[in-house]
Symmetry: C2
Subunit: 366 residues, 2 copies
DNA sequence: TTGTACGCGTTATCAG
DNA sequence: CTGATAACGCGTACAA
């Protein structure tokens, strides 16, 4: 009725233009801050837009401009760090979003469910043109998403290293640095029989951390034998089972490094049941310090500090630059960022007391 | 060149049609499963689409059809449950997505950062027509998002009760049931001085749980006095401070119920430092049982089991129905769902030993 | 400074 | 069963 379709809700650019007795072109220019519009007109348009509650339809805008103004962040269900996982990513999102906002872009999160295929999922996002850029996380060693995105020439950043791809932008935690600091500390305390708890499954970082530890040990003339490598589920339950496995071991380690912190919670639980005290009977080094993780474990856990907000800001900033460059027809050199982590000493590696009663068989100190 | 614009990537419906020597209309019909297209043609189109990697541009499709095929799930940064928060929502997402997929819809998550205004954030999503429906979470007592969405007649579900709105669809945890079960258990064990740890800030559920506890106590002739109400941060640190506060109390409670489980972790930590054992010296009842939360607390925590996946499935299913109804021009009666939670007894309320040395002043049992 | 008109990619209507 | 064509809402050349 009266030119207004039945069931139509909201106001579009035509309504607004008609209301003001100007053309839609003028409305568009005024609202998009173009120079060639009089101050008076702009004021009227902006005021009316606010009053009528107009905001441009994103589909129309995207279709016309060829860009969506959105950046996707893809997370994968069953590869998540079981416990710290969620708080981990939320903090990262905060950083990403704050940076993107400065470029007038928005962050949307795509959650790849347990029963969905990550590669298909990523393809759908890209092909339907839902976003201008994509951040993928929880990369695997062979990650076909990366090959696809490169081949497709789509702006993306991988949060996590991979053997796939090559000259693409990625950011990852400093597993080598963490391994070096952890192994250095433990060796200086006299440990030589050091176990590594890495994650099972196909996420890449477990493998990266394991090799980093192997290398750090090798630099000190210590070989990491298979019986010292434990692939566990990244969960409290995984940590609990790890504890069982260590306690049942015929020749247990004197020290242990973990690839993730929820493992520590379950491990502590099992160790306490067995009367084994971390830091006294077994040295334990955790991983990332997050509010979720083991701030309140007792004895306190030696772990590594990092700023997830700043990490997210790096992702957001680099993504904005990638998209900006593409828009300008330019090409940007891919960035590779190793995110620093700083050790925070806790009681779990605290001065080793050689004479303490030790249910685990201790190796003689060097 | 050759009609192919510089820099153009991907193939659109015209390319595909030209390639097959059919019209774009036929391609569209074939791909959208319309009846009026020959089997032979459909086969050819589908095969070519797959081979050329065609998938429809979502902006074009949305613009034309007036629907996006997407459902938004808005989560808010600084209102998140600090620790269990993330795993909590991820599990819900899984359920939502599995249901939406059956209706051919997708889930996108919008993360409202700490510095953004939730109402403005929600408005932007709706007005730009980014989604066909919106699930909002972490509702406040007065939640202007709800008023807005109702006034706008936009399909939405609130995950969390609110004093705002009224005849809209919402789902919430069974705080009354939890309070009743918790208070019943504690009273039957002889407790009469029962404290309630609720959450600070403006999320509604802290208030709901507090009042539910007050009512459950009143039914048993017990008044919940102000000194027994603790508003704490929903975090391990909040739980730690709660412990400090309880220990410093001149007339401490003999039992305590918590509105969230990360509080339990910090609380346990402080209690252990003070030599106070949950279940012996102080009865503690936690809240939602999640993998993240205190599965491995010792003594084990009495808490409540719920299926977050099924909860998410309810949200997804109801949202699909809401959108379907709107599409058909029909109107659906709003649903209100109280999600059941079932008590899981742990050692933290385990048989009270009256004669045990009790650092906290115990009230005489009834 | 402003208005007009085209096209972004798609689906739907209407002839054929 | 298929092809041509008109929208959907917007941004932007180009003309005035």
């Amino acid at each position: 009725m009266l030119g207004r379709r039945e069931g139509k809700v909201g106001v579009n650019i035509h309504d607004l233009a008609r209301h003001l007795n100007v053309s839609i072109g003028t409305v568009s220019r005024a609202l998009n801050g173009r120079a060639d519009v009089s101050d008076e007109t702009r004021r009227r348009v902006v005021a009316a837009a606010k009053r009528l509650g107009y905001s441009p339809n994103q589909s129309g805008r995207s279709l016309r401009s060829g860009a969506t103004g959105m950046v996707g962040f893809m997370i994968i269900a069953n590869r998540a760090r079981a416990s710290s996982g969620e708080a981990f990513f939320m903090t990262v999102f905060d950083g990403v979003q704050s940076k993107l906002a400065k470029s007038g872009m928005d962050l949307v999160i795509y959650y790849c469910g347990a029963e969905q295929n990550p590669e298909t999922f990523a393809k759908r996002i890209v092909e339907r043109k839902l976003v201008d850029g994509l951040i993928i996380s929880q990369t695997t060693r062979i990650d076909r998403r990366i090959d696809y995105l490169i081949q497709r020439k789509f702006p993306f950043i991988a949060f996590g290293r991979s053997a796939s791809g090559g000259a693409h932008s990625w950011l990852d935690l400093d597993f080598e640095g963490v391994a070096e600091q952890a192994i250095d500390l433990l060796c200086r305390q006299g440990h030589r029989r050091i176990a590594v708890a890495t994650c099972e499954g196909d996420v890449n970082f477990g493998h990266v951390y394991l090799e980093a530890c192997r290398a750090a040990l090798a630099r000190r003339g210590i070989e990491l034998t298979d019986d010292l490598i434990h692939a566990v589920a990244m969960s409290q339950a995984g940590g609990y089972r790890l504890g069982e496995s260590l306690l049942a071991s015929r020749k247990p380690p004197t020290a242990l490094v973990l690839v993730e912190n929820s493992i520590a919670i379950g491990l502590y639980s099992k160790l306490r049941e067995a009367g084994v005290t971390p830091g006294r009977d077994l040295a334990v080094v955790g991983f990332d310090q997050t509010p979720t993780s083991s701030l309140f474990l007792s004895p306190s856990l030696t772990q590594f500090r990092l700023s997830l907000t700043e990490l997210g800001a790096w992702l957001g900033g680099h993504m904005a630059a990638l998209i900006e460059a593409r828009r300008a027809g330019a090409t940007m050199p891919p960035a590779r960022k190793i995110w620093p982590m700083e050790i925070v000493l806790g009681e779990s590696t605290g001065p080793r007391i050689a004479r303490a009663p030790d249910p685990l068989l201790a190796e003689p100190s060097v």
